[in-house]
Amino acid sequence: MKRLFRLATGPEDIGRSPGFWGAFAVLILYLFASPLWLGEFEAYNISFYLLNLPLALGLCLLWGYCGVLSFGQVAYFGIAGYVYGIIAGNLVGTGWGPIAGELGGLAACVVVSAVFGYFVFYARVQAWIVPILTLVLTLLLETFLGQTAGYQWRVGNVQLGGYNGMTGIPSFQVGNLVFYGYAFYYFVLVAVVLCYFACRMVVNSHFGKVMLAIREDPLRAELLGYDIRARQLGVFVLASVLAGISGLFYVQWGNYITPSQVGLVSAALPVIWVAVGGRTSLLAVAISTYALNWVNYSLSSAGNQYALVIIGALLVIVMLFFPRGIVVMLAEAGFRGSLARLRAALRLG
């Protein structure tokens, strides 16, 4: 237990002081207690903001901590969602169909990302090739899913549905307990908090240190005896599983998925969450993901033809003026400010 806590408070994320952990505990308690006064609809919305967090954390690990950029994380989001829909949809009424669906969805993510990653990382390609090929993969997936309209595109009794997407996907269920409304909220909340701590432990573990070494200097890391190809592949698969978890939650949340979830716009979103938050901090990414999803949700109910322009402009502005991310830069400014205040107080005393 102590060892786990030490791992979680290690140096590789912002927020390590006792004050921070106090505030963090209050936040978690607040989130756990909030269904007491939130309506079921609001709890449902909050589960949507939360369910995108694993996707963003995975990209943060990959890009910020390992130095491998992927534009195609939503491909795994979509793969997990569709596979879950197919498996759970065919096992409706058995009680354990959704669990089989979740396992199947994540297994599909692992297989696809491992095969794809093998070709990319074991070829030791240059850094710019990975984002390009992952983007192409997700665009092809969108094209493929878009042309699956019609009765011939069905697996068992589930239709893929072309551009209208797959509908009627079952909610998550264990035995007779169906997760929707508040139950789904708690399900997502617990899973997301666990994902965050797991990621934090990974980056502070020995594996995480090697990951950082690869980001800083791949050649040097390799000369120290680490197989960087295997490590990069490992992180890539881990990130794809995290993206798959988000995809599972998404289909369980809305009970549908469309090919546009793996399209160009959706592919841009995780990159923006991570860039705005600051890719070198899991916590900053979690904050920005939650905030941007909330903003996006509010904006899109007002009409979303400007959404793409706003996303694009945000991306350009952040990359030009806040290259390390808005949340990270704010946090550092705050830290420096309090340090300066402390020094001034000491000098006075």
């Binding site: 890009w63 130095g67 950029l69 534009f71 794809f116 070709f119 990319v120 074991y122 070829a123 030791r124 390609v125 240059q126 850094a127 710019w128 090739i129 984002p131 390009i132 090929l133 983007l135 192409v136 993969l137 665009l139 092809l140 094209t143 493929f144 042309q147 160009l264 716009v265 841009a268 990159v271 860039a275 033809q305 400007y306 793409l308 322009v309 996303i311 694009g312 402009a313 945000l314 991306l315 350009v316 990359m319 030009l320 290259p323």
Partner: protein, 298 residues
């Protein structure tokens, strides 16, 4: 006669696929080779080319003039883009990818908001000629010739002009080139502008074969990127030509027998296998071969 027409038809299929890939990728690979930057707004620059061509064509210019206008308009836009944004990202290739992606979203949706969902399309110039039982589009034959011409033009530019000399010097060793008095800043700007202009040129040329919409750039993105990944950045011309020939050999039969979508999938699979064998692309392979050949024998 029957056999001959089959051969001609197969060559035509390979040729059109190769020309398409070459046109898609040319602007991208010029920029990549020089600055090691992938311009993700490439598809949108092609879209701008198509838009410019369509507007110029509606204004009464003949189509070839409209294509030339597109080249210059998008080229100037590229120079502005380089000055304002891209130059801050030299040496940070992942940052450049992300920022140009933002630009691409801005451009496509901005075009949609300003100019609406589509522009009137340009009729395909030229008719068709019959070879045996097959009918070949004259316009695509022209495109094959034009893309070959563009490659020859680039080869001339890189190997026979002062700009080309400076550009190759900057590619090999930017610091050394600067020390010898090459204005590398200007070389970067001109190269980016040239790449953008070529994207506009290709977009204008492909405009009659596509519907002119704000999001038309997306359909060029996948083939262009795959071609560039396979081509690599070591030698612009060898990369572009080698990779489009190689990929056309893959795409033509698959696309012919199994449909356009699986043709595209085959391109991605081929790219994965090719980079596994040649991580730095076809061009690095070619470069090594030509280096070995040009080494003086002792």
């Amino acid at each position: 006669m029957e056999d001959l027409s089959v051969v001609v038809s197969i060559l035509y299929q390979f040729g059109t696929n190769g020309a398409f890939l070459l046109l898609c990728a040319l602007g991208l690979i010029v920029i990549l080779g020089m600055m090691n930057i992938i311009n993700l707004a490439h598809g949108e620059l092609m879209m701008m080319g198509a838009y410019t061509a369509s507007l110029a064509y509606q204004a009464g210019f003949p189509f070839p003039i409209a294509v030339v206008i597109s080249f210059f308009v998008v080229g100037v836009f590229g120079a502005v883009l380089e000055r304002l944004v891209v130059r801050r990202f030299y040496g940070r290739e992942l940052g450049a990818l992300v920022v140009t992606w933002g630009i691409s979203l801005l451009l496509s949706q901005g075009t949609f908001l300003v100019l609406g969902p589509f522009l009137p399309s340009i009729p395909i110039p030229g008719g068709a000629i019959d070879v045996g039982q097959y009918s070949l589009s004259v316009y695509w034959l022209i495109l094959i010739a034009v893309s070959a011409g563009a490659v020859l033009g680039l080869a001339w530019l890189y190997n026979r002009t002062e700009f080309g000399l400076h550009a190759r010097a900057t590619m090999q060793n930017a610091e050394m080139a600067r020390a010898l008095g090459v204005n590398t800043d200007r070389v970067y700007m001109l190269t980016f502008s040239l790449g953008a202009g070529l994207a506009g040129f290709s977009g204008a040329l492909l405009a009659p074969t596509a519907s002119i919409m704000p999001f038309m750039g997306q359909q060029f993105v996948a083939p262009a990127f795959i071609t560039v990944v396979v081509g690599g950045a070591s030698n612009v011309i060898a990369g572009a030509v080698g990779s489009s020939v190689l990929l056309s050999l893959v795409r033509t039969p698959v696309g012919f027998y199994l449909g356009a979508f699986l043709g595209l999938v085959a391109l991605l699979l081929a790219a994965l296998v090719i980079i596994r064998l040649m991580p730095n692309g076809v061009s690095a392979y070619f470069q090594r071969w030509s280096d070995r050949r040009s080494r003086p024998t002792v």
